[in-house]
């Protein structure tokens, strides 16, 4: 028996619907069809009247969720692709994210964003939006990299009293499998040291964790011991765990699939440079996708985003500095 990342997301939603009558799911094709990615497969049947198809109206989908949350519900909304959340952007960043600050009324809305590149998906079905949402005060941004985290973090997202942008990576949907669902979990807000090492730290999250682990393994025969930190959530960032790791290794490489300008990798480097300057034995480095829209052709796509190979090369360079 094994369970995929995608099944874990479906199971977490089923569990949330079972546990809490306030939970409902709203989004395009999420009803009887089970969602464009099948993340809500069978849920409409299992929970009649609580898994609702919406019109193609991202703005109104999120607006409705905010209203329902004000009235005490715990909506989960699915943006069919993270890229389309730009159409609902206003309601996310100006309505959901400001409600608590302005009125003291919490806004427990979970916005699921199937995000990130997969081969052949092109400029409008591949985007990484975590940086954009993390920039806005009032939002929590989760980026699970494992089957276990996909499950436990989604349950926590629904339980949290604040709007959560839940970035689930489409590349991991079928690629990642676990033996079983976790019974306990590290709380959101804590990063995890996935692989210990003494020579350098790679800080990453979501699908890039697996590329980074592959890169770390490739460097082992050369005698390098690379530590890999999975941020798990990019807002908040667990700066303490990152800093402690850099204190041990003295070298930092940040890897993100998002575009290079600003963003999570830049934020990590800013924090380590300003708060942990003395811990560094070499200038901190980062690796992101190229500063162009995400290309369609697999040849171009493989060169556009960081891969294990590119991370290995960047790590080697940093280890020699």
């Amino acid at each position: 028996m094994s369970i995929t990342y995608l099944e874990a997301i479906r199971e977490a939603q089923a569990q949330a619907l079972r546990d809490d009558p306030r939970v409902f799911i709203y989004g395009q094709d999420v009803g009887p069809f089970g969602g464009a990615h099948k993340a809500t497969k069978n849920l409409a049947k299992e929970f009649p009247g609580r898994v609702l198809d919406s019109p193609i109206s991202e703005d109104a989908i999120v607006g409705l969720a905010v209203g329902a949350a004000i009235e005490g519900m715990r909506p989960i909304v699915e943006m069919q692709f993270a890229d389309f959340s730009t159409v609902g952007f206003n309601q996310i960043v100006n309505q959901a994210a400001t409600l608590f600050w302005r009125t003291n009324v919490p806004c427990p809305v979970t916005v699921r964003l199937p995000f990130g590149g997969t081969s052949g998906s092109g400029p409008f079905h591949s985007q990484c939006m975590e940086t954009v949402y993390a920039h806005y005060p009032g939002l929590i941004v989760m980026t699970p990299a494992t089957v276990e985290d996909a499950y436990s973090m989604l349950l926590e997202a629904v339980a949290i009293d604040d709007p959560v942008i839940f970035c689930e990576h489409k590349f991991l949907y079928y690629h990642l499998k676990a033996e079983k669902l976790p019974s306990e979990a590290l709380p959101v807000g804590k990063a995890r040291i996935v692989r210990e090492g003494r020579d350098m730290t790679i800080v990453t999250y979501s699908a890039m964790l697996h590329e980074a682990l592959e890169a770390a393994n490739e460097l082992t025969p050369e005698g390098w011991e690379v530590e890999v930190v999975d941020l798990r959530s990019v807002k908040p960032i667990d700066t303490d765990t990152v800093m402690a790791s850099v204190a041990r290794t003295g070298r930092l490489l940040c890897v993100g699939e998002a575009w290079p300008w600003g963003g999570v990798t830049a934020e990590i480097i800013a924090r380590v440079s300003s708060e942990g300057y003395g811990l560094l034995d070499a200038p901190p480095q980062r690796l992101n996708a190229k500063d162009t829209p995400v290309p369609y052709h697999p040849n171009l796509w493989a060169a556009h985003r960081p891969t294990a190979r590119a991370i290995t090369a960047a790590a080697r360079k940093l280890l020699r500095l």
């Binding site: 019109p55 004000i70 400001t98 009293d161 807002k235």
Partner: protein
């Protein structure tokens, strides 16, 4: 026989209408005087940011607020001082938000027309037009989930907001879900400075409703009588389960977009036309014609309203503003997940 059965009912109805009309008029009066006070405070530099008046739209606004019951939902817009008061907002809370009192519902974190109490069904607008409609939908859908029937949600918008994607998405959404939404459209002929000829090309804004399968009615927005009847009936239809309702009022904004705006762009011909009538004057004439009030009574009501406002402003001016040193700089409710950057 029929006559004897009907007559007492009709008389009762007439008395009720008179009572509603008088109450609505007094909210219009209070709102007009409150707006004037805010404008005066703004001119003397006592208000930070903008001041946005509802002059010319009080009849529609008061009719909307008064047609709703306790437990209903109201998402007012910038020209809704009258409707807010009729829905239950206090003059104190309005003054606290404009003057930035720490004791106001927004505690100085937001100001002027951006005020409300979401848990009481009174939504604080964001600036992005049309964005509050789907939030009302969400509250109404949640009530359906909770088997809490019989409440209505009203949202106010202007002619400008009917051009937004948010308006389209939310009205369509309400129609698909058959929600008891009442969308109150004030066609005041200008969105800031843009005339309706540059805003939409349909014959009448009411035409838009058909495209969504939404019932619609129109009214002369300068006439409190028409507003009470049309908005009241739309609220009744929504409450009775007839699905979303749209009402369109034709009127003219008798002030600038905000007090910073001299509104020099408004067509003088429009001001002279029936659309440019002052709804408050129209209502006063009606009160006197009906002998529901005489000029002395109107003067007394005005004095009472002025006193109420002056008292509230005096109290708020003694209240502290927000303190940046004790302010909790946290945008999320989950304390442990707050990043807490300085």
């Amino acid at each position: 026989m029929l006559q004897t059965v009907l007559e007492p009912q009709t008389a009762e109805k007439a008395a009720l209408f008179r009572e509603t009309y008088l109450a609505a008029y007094r909210f219009m009066l209070l709102a007009r005087l409150l707006d004037d006070k805010f404008a005066a405070l703004w001119r003397s530099g006592r208000i930070h940011g903008g001041v946005f008046l509802g002059r010319g739209q009080e009849a529609l606004s008061a009719a909307t607020g008064i047609s709703l019951k306790k437990g209903d939902v109201f998402a007012p817009l910038i020209r809704d001082a009258a409707g807010r008061l009729a829905f239950g907002e206090t003059v104190l809370d309005a003054a606290r938000t404009y003057l930035g009192s720490a004791r106001g519902p927004m505690g100085g974190r937001d100001g002027n027309v951006h005020r409300g109490k979401p848990k009481e069904g009174y939504l604080p607008m964001i600036s992005h037009l049309g964005a509050m409609i789907s939030v009302v939908n969400g509250i109404l859908l949640a009530r359906r989930f909770k088997n809490h029937a019989g409440t209505v949600g009203a949202a106010s918008i202007g002619d400008g907001a009917t051009s937004t994607g948010a308006f389209h998405e939310a009205l369509n959404q309400a129609a698909v879900e058959k929600l008891p939404l009442v969308l109150v459209v004030a066609n005041n002929h200008y969105a800031y400075s843009t005339p309706i000829s540059r805003q939409f090309a349909c014959r009448d804004l009411a035409d838009k409703a058909a495209g969504y399968g939404v019932e619609v009615d129109s009214m002369d927005g300068t006439d409190l009588n028409a507003c009470l009847e049309t908005v009241g009936q739309a609220v009744d239809r929504a409450r009775a389960g007839r699905g979303p309702q749209m009402v369109v009022a034709t009127l003219l904004r008798l002030c600038g977009h905000g007090e910073h705006d001299d509104a020099g762009y408004i067509d003088p011909e429009l001001k002279k036309s029936p659309v440019g009538r002052d709804c408050q004057k129209v209502a006063e004439d009606y009160l006197i014609r009906q002998k529901w009030a005489d000029p002395a009574t109107l003067a007394t009501w005005r004095t009472e309203a002025v006193h109420k406002i002056e008292e509230a402003i005096a109290q708020v001016q003694r209240e502290p503003g927000p303190d940046p040193f004790t302010e909790e700089w946290r945008a999320i409710s989950t304390q442990r997940l707050n990043e807490g950057h300085e």
